[in-house]
Subunit: 260 residues, 4 copies
């Protein structure tokens, strides 16, 4: 597997299992700093948070934009965590690239080939989510756009696909972990929050993903889930996340991996 350095101290690779956590959206300075400090104390080294939000309808909260990016940077300064945030278009790509340590491509842009080509010109770690309507082979096709200019710092994410089942928001395709490991050299991480749709299913999906051999997790955590401005139902509270983190540690111990 490719060894991807996030910063001087932090890598995702064969030996390191990386947990990324944070709110669905950056909402305010208080919110993001409070969440970051709590996560850092638990042991998390990478903070996620959306500044530009892809929402199904235009009247939903669209994110704070550049202000959100700046709040993420502030959280990084206060905690030493690395940060990751989603880029939605080539216009804001230079900003996102400048502020963020990892560039995230969301599920709805997984086959936005113009965006993928633009991102490929930077030499920065990229986290590429599988489109919820895309096959594993299409995800690999999209990764080839990202690597077409030589950047191979690509982290692939399984985050659930569309199926006929309606008790969960999406169906986590946990078999994507061994299939992607067989077909690519990239780390594969699991997003248990979006398929779960509600926070009480996040833990079992996270555990399943870790046990299936994934190289990390990206989990939505909020300091006040009930009042979150987006995806309120699926975000874990800090104590729920703490509890999950301890269980993940048992899996990574079992697998002789470092939890980073």
């Amino acid at each position: 597997m490719i060894d991807i350095k996030i910063n001087d101290e932090l890598s995702i690779n064969d030996e390191n299992f990386m947990v990324i956590a944070g709110p669905c959206a950056v909402e305010s300075e208080d919110q993001v700093i409070d969440i970051a400090k709590n996560l850092k104390k638990i042991g998390v080294n990478v903070l996620r948070g959306g500044a530009y939000k892809p929402r199904t309808c235009p009247d939903s909260f669209q994110g704070l934009g550049e202000e959100g990016l700046k709040l993420l940077v502030k959280a990084r300064e206060e905690t030493g965590m690395s940060i990751i945030t989603e880029v939605m278009d080539t216009e804001t790509l230079p900003l996102v690239e400048e502020y963020s340590d990892i560039i995230q491509i969301g599920s709805r842009n997984s086959q936005n080939f113009s965006l993928l080509k633009a991102v490929s010109k930077y030499n920065k770690p990229v986290l590429l989510k599988r489109g919820f309507g895309n096959t594993i082979n299409e995800l690999i096709g999209s990764s080839k756009y990202l690597s077409m200019n030589g950047n191979n710092k690509i982290i692939l994410v399984e985050r659930g696909i569309r199926t006929f089942e309606t008790t969960t928001r999406f169906t986590l395709d946990v078999s994507a972990v061994p299939v992607l490991h067989e077909k690519t050299e990239y780390p594969v991480i699991i997003d248990p929050s979006h398929p779960a749709g509600v926070n009480r299913y996040v833990e079992p999906l996270a555990m399943a993903g870790a046990a299936a051999g994934s190289d990390g997790l990206i989990i939505e955590v909020h300091n006040n889930p009930g009042n979150a401005l987006s995806d309120s139902a699926q975000q874990l509270s800090i104590p729920q996340f703490k509890n999950l983190y301890d269980k993940i540690k048992m899996i990574t111990n079992m697998n002789n991996k470092n939890l980073v």
Copy 2:
């Protein structure tokens, strides 16, 4: 239903059933002009053709770009047809908008909200394809981005969704026609070519779409399908299309619609 004027003579509305046809990709001047002349002779008034092609892998033919747009314009000048072509990003949107009579949003960009917002600033007819992993309600959500600045000249397209069935490329969801008619005021047209995947299934799907009450069709036609640079298997030859067009006319006659 909203009445959408394409040019001074051509509208899609309650009375007019519009057939759009042309090659998957613009490949050369000879190719596009020859196809356009043949289609015009048959009765088609809107020519489709891709200048920017969204391809699963970066090493597939990506389209001729601006040169392709110029060839479409040449075809318009020679035949009087209107033209439609797909826009893939905000960088090329001004060009596409300048050259094309209808702006097409492809299936993979159906939830590219940044692109939808940018397109919404123009006052031009837009053809919005359903993402193959998207629900009908999500397609309606995307249409709200397009109309957020007051443009309601939106044509919705059902082009097949992802299912477990593998004998066809996608599964045409023909029920999208009555559902969209119930939930929106926009014309709904059917793309039979992409779900079929092979040209021998295009006719039955086109007929199904017309009989289900759609307001038009968008069909891939090539003057030499065997040598097409993209989606070779699913493009109709000119004689195959001529044959289909005659049958569509019987349906539109039956429904007291003008075939335009």
Copy 3:
């Protein structure tokens, strides 16, 4: 295509488009006789009606059983229509075979291989529905069980498959018509009622199926849909069906087929 004789006067074959109609379930003598007489007057020659009902939960109405079969026979005597009803198990197969002119295998039993083998021992027309979770190739596999003892009087039915779309009950896979025609010699008919889920979508799906080249339709019709004991929402009223029947006639005229 195989020519399947239902009785001395009635066949489904290359020239005849057969409409089967009737209530979801046989509920009472008054109900089934009234519906049958109305349908016969409109032109329908085959009456459907469930005596044994496969219901998701055991506390739902399970059908009248043998009494239902006898009521269907009474309707046949009063109208001269042929009758079709679903068989759910080998125990009741001899009864169903004795009373009914066509044996129906429902979607949930499409891969009940023991039942298929038992039915194959009779030399009677069989209508085999596609399982909503089955591929077209699996449907063909099931048809091979039915024909293993030499009976080739098999009518295949596309009735919608499970997909992620939720505005309809199932997604009608209209492309099954050309695919099955290519791969088998059996007539293919469309059930528009189950995918629609609500009666206002039945007509466009029926029209789509007829225009796609199917060899018939099987449609749920009730004389009092609002009070039906099962699948109330998707049954057409008699006047709705009459209206649809007239439109189907236009399609069969267009295709030079006899509407039987």
Copy 4:
């Protein structure tokens, strides 16, 4: 959770994680006895093996029938293991019930309501697989048929559902574990073999299922997978299974469960 006694010494319940293993089909005395002895030595207490096989086409191997049942009984006598085998119809149900310790309902019969009703009349443990086209709520509906006469010794199995992804045979819906635990009191076990389709994906899916909180696993194991008469590709060899079993033990230790 309901405590289900398989025999005097063996239960599946809140404290016990049960592994069921054995060949897809019983093929010969040598085969089944050899596999049983090997599995028993590793620690497995329940032997699976098909005597009646539901195959998509009638010319595939259909199982040894009653002879297969007798060979399973012989394996039980020689090893002390409990046995489980699939019932396909009411005709053979009395035999299966007589010979087997657990009655298995396969995926294709998950909504064979006549069979479910017949099985409900016995007071024996039943393992009910989810139909690959069925929702979780439908699986629960089917369990209500099984319990309608008071038997609540029901084990539910998630074994993969039909989706658009083709790199695996089915998509394991691991979220069925927490959803079923929330909605029912029955143990939930995972079948990793059928979704995997090939043996190299079985281990990650089994681990995912165990970590997600399932109450057991049912795994296909063969002493000579390359020559198996059915589902050859997905069966583990004895050494592969031994390796997996050791890893499962680590998960059950972690969860303070007994591996039985």
